[in-house]
């Protein structure tokens, strides 16, 4: 190394004052400053997109949580009931009674309005049959005042939310301009109002022509059952596989092969797992179609590689000195792993599990193939256990279904569903964080 002795090379320490910085230092400092600005800009862009996402989700989804209802206090006497039941067109008799009642309610409020039965049907659907079904099911309510909260049709709902206006009314079969005048009168009388949309949260999907009645509740339950299946299967299998591979398995060509395959599985498109589930679970094993059990099995296949990879990483992160210490006092390999290594790796394992579950929760493609999409849920499955094997939908699949439907009413339902999906995810993450804290506290 003769270069070191060449005295023409500039000395780094140099002469020169410490108070001023030389050109090279300035350049370095500028580069550092630039890099920091890049970093800050990157974070700002990320936050901006997050903000845009949240604002648009909430703005588009919030209307799904309100609905338009008509409040009518209705009393049906025994005599009226019998009279109506003896007529040929029974529901017509009921709706005539309802119209009388509504008119008297408007008169009492001092509002003048003219409407006929067909207008009421455009506004509120088949009121007569609703009333008839209620009184036939609850005859003890006869003669007593009952508060009916009748859901307005989705176009009336759209009128309140600004989706429908007098200019955009096209097909007069569904709603006419005169109906909107009637809605205004009803609002004046305080009969029609906006209420919180509980049926959206607790209800099941409805047909394509009834966006107002569609709810996400059934698919929340479906997703919940699927997550239970995924958790119950993928966590023990994944953790056992990773512990064996990481701590016990000999390092040879076979374990290398397995390792490569696990990494590859994690990158397999989810629709492949879907078609596999269709072929194996439904066509070969004859498990029920559209059931959360099958959905959970398919998602377990998808989640396993994620859990195995993250569990192995967190097992590897436990310092070897802990294993040495345990073996050194005469613990068997299994005792060393279960008493010392696993508790230390637990927070990492939980993080990996929650990432895997979150991924599984948002997965739609494999569910399309096993039929967990579409209008399947007629009310909730009976009982908890049956919920695993009876047809249901899952949240992302339900959102997908709504998004593909033509009626604009479903559009806001899809956004509202996304809000519920995110809330579900957030709840799951919070539980995971609390669990992780508890494990960490036990050092």
């Amino acid at each position: 190394m003769t270069d070191a002795s060449i005295d023409t090379a500039p000395a780094a320490g140099g002469k020169g004052s410490l108070l001023g910085s030389d050109a090279r230092t300035k350049k370095r400092n500028a580069a550092e400053k630039r890099f920091r600005l890049y970093g800050m800009a990157a974070i700002a862009i990320g936050l901006f997109f997050l903000l845009v996402l949240f604002v648009s989700i909430i703005r588009s989804g919030a209307p799904a949580f309100t609905r338009t209802v008509v409040d009518v206090e209705f009393t049906l006497t025994q005599a009226e009931f019998e009279a109506a039941e003896s007529e040929l067109f029974k529901t017509k008799a009921y709706s005539n009674l309802f119209i009388q009642k509504l008119k008297s309610q408007l008169d009492a409020a001092g509002v003048e309005a003219e409407f006929d039965e067909s207008a009421i049907e455009r506004l509120l659907g088949k009121v007569g049959s609703t009333l008839r079904e209620f009184y036939r099911a609850n005859p003890e309510q006869l003669g007593q005042p009952v508060d009916f909260e009748l859901a307005a049709s989705s176009r009336v709902d759209g009128y309140f939310k600004g989706r429908v206006s007098r200019d955009t009314l096209q097909d007069s079969r569904f709603l006419q301009v005169s109906d909107l005048d009637l809605v205004d009168r009803l609002e004046e009388a305080g009969v029609i109002r906006q209420a919180f949309n509980w049926p959206f949260i607790t209800g099941a999907d409805s047909g394509v022509d009834n966006p107002g009645g569609a709810g996400i509740g059934a698919s929340v339950v479906g997703s919940f059952f699927m997550m239970l299946v995924v958790l119950a299967l993928s966590l023990p299998i994944g953790v056992a596989a990773s512990i064996y591979l990481e701590e016990f398995a000999p390092k040879n060509r076979w374990t290398d092969l397995i390792e490569v395959n696990i990494s590859n599985l994690a990158a397999v498109p989810s629709i492949v797992f879907g078609i596999l589930g269709l072929a194996v679970f439904i066509q070969f094993m004859h498990l029920p179609q559209s059931a959360p059990l099958v959905g959970g099995l398919v998602l377990t296949l998808m989640t396993l590689p994620t859990i195995i990879i993250s569990t192995r990483a967190s097992l590897r992160a436990v310092p070897p000195s802990i294993r040495d210490a345990a073996l050194g006092v005469g613990a068997s390999k299994m005792q060393a792993v279960f008493h010392h290594v696993l508790p230390l790796a637990m927070p990492g394992i939980l993080t990996g599990t929650i990432i895997g579950l979150a991924q599984a929760l948002g997965e739609t493609a494999p569910l399309l193939l096993i039929g967990m999409v579409g209008f399947v849920a007629r009310g909730y499955p009976d009982g908890f256990i049956a919920g695993f094997t009876e047809p249901n939908s899952a949240m992302p699949a339900q959102i997908y279904t709504w998004a593909t439907r033509a009626d604009a009413g479903f559009y806001e339902k899809a956004w509202g569903g996304i809000i519920i999906l995110l809330a579900f995810l957030l709840t799951m993450n919070i539980i995971a964080i609390i669990l992780r804290r508890r494990f960490e506290r036990r050092w």
Binding site: Q335, H339, L344, W443
Partner: protein, 266 residues
């Protein structure tokens, strides 16, 4: 195998052989790490292994309680007789062996649990205590032998990792003696400690000699001279010289030993 009475008066030369190692070879993959080592380690004696880095002294130490089993590529040959029984025999369970041959590591490695649990772990898994009171007794005895009882007796429920480095190492020694081993292996136990903590540990090693056979690997020749009665000098995987510590340091037979202890190689 006759049982010699272990009395305090027994002098170094009368000690029975604890470990008898014959023609020991260790390979790491293709690397021949230990070559033809023959050594007899006595009971109630501190034996120190010295030598330059990479000479195989730690490897050999780890053979004595089969910690090399955890390394996939390591291969051990030769006879390691502990009280006349080959520890690499098929019938030997390394778990039982390690309860008999305790180990203290270079870096203090207490479990991230309480001080009490650190010491109680070994006795618990070996079923040495029938009840809590017995376990308490074992823990106290071990901590006293580890010369750390007075410092931690009021905070046994606090994490062992919260102690200072020297205290942690003495806790690890207490943990190792809690299982009542017959041999205590120490792999550079003082390399991460300051001089005061080192002095405490060395004093402790000297006390431990009355009960156990202690084997210590050290980089410090002064330490070897201070604590051990027997010294073995390893170089490039060979056991160059083994004998009384005084002899090795004042009158070495092999020129390599002399070069090492005078600081010319290593």
């Amino acid at each position: 195998m006759y049982d010699a009475p272990k009395t305090a008066e027994s002098t170094v030369s009368q000690n029975e052989i604890k470990f008898d190692c014959r023609d020991c070879q260790v390979w790491y993959g293709d690397t021949h790490a230990i070559k033809d080592v023959n050594i007899q380690i006595e009971d109630n004696t501190v034996t120190s292994f010295i030598g330059p880095s990479g000479c195989g002294k730690s490897t050999f130490l780890r053979c004595l309680n089969r910690m090399n089993d955890t390394i996939d590529v390591a291969r051990v040959e030769g006879q390691f007789l502990l009280d006349g029984e080959d520890i690499y025999d098929r019938k030997v369970d390394p778990v039982q062996l390690r309860a008999k041959v305790g180990m203290v590591f270079q870096k203090p490695n207490p479990f991230p649990k309480s001080i009490y649990d650190n010491v109680a772990y070994g006795p618990k898994i070996h079923g040495m205590a029938k009840n809590k009171a017995e376990l308490d007794e074992i823990v106290e005895r071990a901590l006293r032998r580890g010369a750390i009882w007075d410092e931690v007796k009021d905070r046994l429920d606090q994490p062992g990792t919260g102690l200072s480095g020297g205290q942690q190492q003495r806790l690890c020694i207490a943990r190792a003696v809690a299982t009542e081993p017959e041999v205590l292996l120490m792999d550079e136990p003082c390399s991460a400690l300051d001089p005061i903590a080192t002095a405490l540990v060395e004093e402790l090693i000297d006390e431990l000699r009355t009960r156990y056979s202690v084997v210590i690997v050290t980089h410090s020749m002064q330490q070897a001279a201070r604590v051990s009665q027997k010294t073995a000098f390893f170089h490039l995987g060979n056991l160059v010289e083994f004998g009384d510590t005084g002899e090795i340091f004042t009158n070495p037979n092999d020129p390599r030993t002399e070069s090492y202890i005078t600081g010319r190689i290593g």
